[in-house]
């Protein structure tokens, strides 16, 4: 047996300094963790070259970018374990070229994201955030003195991307009497919802759109001006996927000009930057990429990451590997 296999496996953790929920899990399961954010004097490149040259596994949190240069400084890298469902922050071409495997969080926090999507939809059309603000400001002095919301029952909801999260959203909306349809790369068998082969026809036939797909070259700005015009002036878009799914500049114009009615957003193109024009709009609910941020979800995410790290170091099968082709 090689001497190195008796040492706790080394894992390189690439995360924002404040996002430390996985640290305790790593030490509890006897991993030796190196943290890129502790490299205060060195540049990231120097840190990687001097400390991490033999690292085989990286844990990625908080969507900190993992570009080609990062990967090229890790000649022994074989796996990137993402503590999120999204992996668009990793240079996929470089991973494909190097044969680096990527795993994501699978369904670890799908329920919380789906809950938030439904919560955002109800909050937008029933004006919950705006009206709570109205009451707290002491303005409720006369009865029956506020704009009404809109009914959810029998509204047509189009889900963009019927993956694990999209399916959870659909299941939750069913008892609200919503008529659910979806757009996906391919129709899903055994699914009781109508399939639309493109987002434009989905927008034409629906009242509300909920974006649940991953961000790829294909889906970048999939919601553009034409889609919003087609959705129409009573349309609402909920985005719990990635900011880049929507042409944000056009969306702001469409909201300001009444081309669509409202939006509920958990994600933005350039977080934490949010277009300030949105702050003055009442039919908009904004959330700081918080869809997966509950204690239960962070725990589930950690468990999935740990399980994959253990499997990787023991040459066992991995869960939730991402298809790079």
């Amino acid at each position: 047996m090689e001497e190195s296999s008796l040492l706790p496996p080394v894992v390189l953790v690439h995360r924002p300094p404040a996002l430390d929920f996985i640290d305790e899990h790593l030490s509890r399961h006897s991993f030796t963790a190196l943290y890129t954010h502790t490299s205060l004097e060195d540049s990231l490149q120097d840190f990687l070259s001097s400390h991490a040259a033999s690292v085989r596994a990286v844990v990625s949190l908080g969507r900190l970018p993992i570009p080609a240069e990062f990967i090229s400084n890790l000649p022994s890298l074989e796996i990137v374990v993402c503590a999120s469902v999204g992996f668009d922050h990793v240079d996929l071409d470089e991973c494909r070229r190097r044969g680096v495997v990527i795993t994501n969080a699978g369904d670890a926090y799908g329920e919380d994201v789906a809950d938030l999507a439904v919560g955002l939809l109800i909050s937008v059309i029933r004006r919950i955030a705006a009206v709570d603000r109205y009451v707290r400001s002491g303005q409720w002095t006369r009865l029956w003195d506020y704009p009404l919301g809109f009914k959810l029952n029998r509204k047509k909801v189009g889900i963009v991307g019927l993956g694990s999260i999209g399916s959870l959203v659909a299941k939750r909306l069913e008892p609200f009497g919503c008529i659910i349809s979806y757009n996906s790369r391919n129709p899903k068998p055994d699914v009781p919802y109508a399939y639309y082969s493109n987002i434009l026809s989905l927008a034409a036939d629906n009242d509300f759109l909920i974006l649940c797909c991953s961000l790829t070259d294909e889906t970048h700005h999939i919601v553009n001006r034409e889609v919003m015009e087609t959705l129409g002036k009573n349309g609402v878009i909920i985005n719990i996927g990635r900011g880049g799914l929507i042409d944000e500049k056009e969306m702001v114009k469409c909201l300001v000009n009444g081309v669509i009615w409202g939006v509920g957003l958990d994600v933005f193109e350039n977080e934490p930057e949010v277009p300030e024009e949105l702050f003055g709009l009442e039919n908009v609910v904004l959330s700081p990429h918080a869809a997966g941020m509950t204690a239960e979800s962070l725990n589930n995410i950690s468990e999935v990451a740990i399980a994959n790290l253990k499997a990787f170091f023991a040459d066992q099968p991995l869960m939730f590997t991402v298809q790079l082709d």
């Binding site: 029933r126 009206v131 009914k151 509950t294």
Partner: protein
């Protein structure tokens, strides 16, 4: 029918006002500064009262209107109408059931998620620019939490069906056990509160259910439990609620109704574990119009000798 006097108790819907005005002699109670003089003047022409959750027909009003034949409420709740006197005097009463069930149930779920996931606070956090300084904190998961419903009528049942889609185990309290219901029954509200993460008030307001959520119930719900009130303000002992929230004995509350609307205790304005709405349970364009159509439809039916659409008495 244009000579029939219909007394509308307060502003509730301009669509309803227009529809009533087309058909009847609509008298707007809130426009007159001297209420007793107003009633004296019109007492012999008022044959119908249109009320709502805020103002209906109490004993005093009914006694002041000798020609009153029907009270048509723009609400499903009847707590502002003296039903006993109406029965005694043969005055018909109608309300607006079913058409608002979905909207109220939708709002109950919306309130639960907004409260547990701090949606209003998140929205404020982003709008204030604070997100640039750091991520928002962790919030509480909704899916899988136990939901305890007080009152399993139309609205309570609709709330249960929605919560089931979030994998929530459903408990309930009712005056009697409902036979064909798969949810867990608790014989007292305190027991229900002890065994539920989220307590929802969905029963009618009556003498028995006034302050049905009292200090004991709130303590049983506890610092991790939350209260959702989409019923009537007087269901909850509001003074005790404010104390329980400010002292941290109750985890949170989302309230669409208050004991003395539009008054809301100011101590609540600064709390991040509350959501406060101004009685918007049925507040959608579609539903308010459907409610108005029912009010008008009931009055038309009555004055043309046909069967009432949604009679209560």
């Amino acid at each position: 029918m244009e000579s029939i006097g219909v007394l509308m108790m307060c502003p509730m819907s301009s669509y309803l006002e227009n529809e009533l005005q087309k058909r009847f002699n609509l008298l707007r109670f809130w426009t007159s500064p001297e209420k007793s003089v107003f009633l004296e003047t019109h007492r012999n022409s008022i044959r119908a009262v249109v009320g709502n959750a805020f103002a209906g027909a109490d004993a005093q009003l009914i006694n002041d209107l000798p020609k009153l034949e029907i009270v048509s409420s723009f609400s499903v709740g009847l707590d502002k109408i003296d039903l006993g006197i109406c029965k005694d005097k043969g005055i018909r009463v109608t309300n607006t059931p079913d058409v608002l069930t979905e909207d109220v149930a939708d709002l109950a779920i919306g309130l639960i998620i907004a409260l547990l996931r701090r949606l209003c606070e998140c929205d404020r956090y982003v709008r204030s620019g604070k997100w640039k300084q750091g991520d928002f904190k962790l919030t509480t998961k909704f899916s899988g939490k136990s939901v305890g419903i007080i009152g399993l009528g139309r609205i309570g049942t609709a709330i249960a069906k929605r919560a089931e889609a979030f994998s929530c185990p459903i408990n309930y309290y009712s005056r009697t056990v409902k036979p064909d219901v798969a949810y867990k029954y608790y014989p007292t509200v305190v027991d229900l509160a002890k065994n539920s993460d989220i307590l929802v008030v969905a029963c009618p307001l009556s003498d028995e259910t006034r302050h049905i959520v009292n200090r004991q119930v709130m303590d049983a719900l506890g610092p991790k439990g939350v209260l959702i009130n989409i019923g009537r303000g007087p269901h909850v002992d509001e003074q005790e609620l404010v104390k329980a929230l400010t002292e941290g004995r109750l985890g949170g509350a989302a309230l669409d109704v208050f004991e003395k609307e539009p008054h809301v205790p100011e101590e609540l304005f600064g709390l991040e574990n509350v959501v406060l709405l101004p009685h918007v349970g049925s507040g959608t364009v579609e539903t308010r119009n459907a409610m108005a159509d029912l009010v008008v439809g009931n009055l038309e039916a009555h004055f043309s000798g046909k069967s009432l659409l949604t009679p209560v008495v």
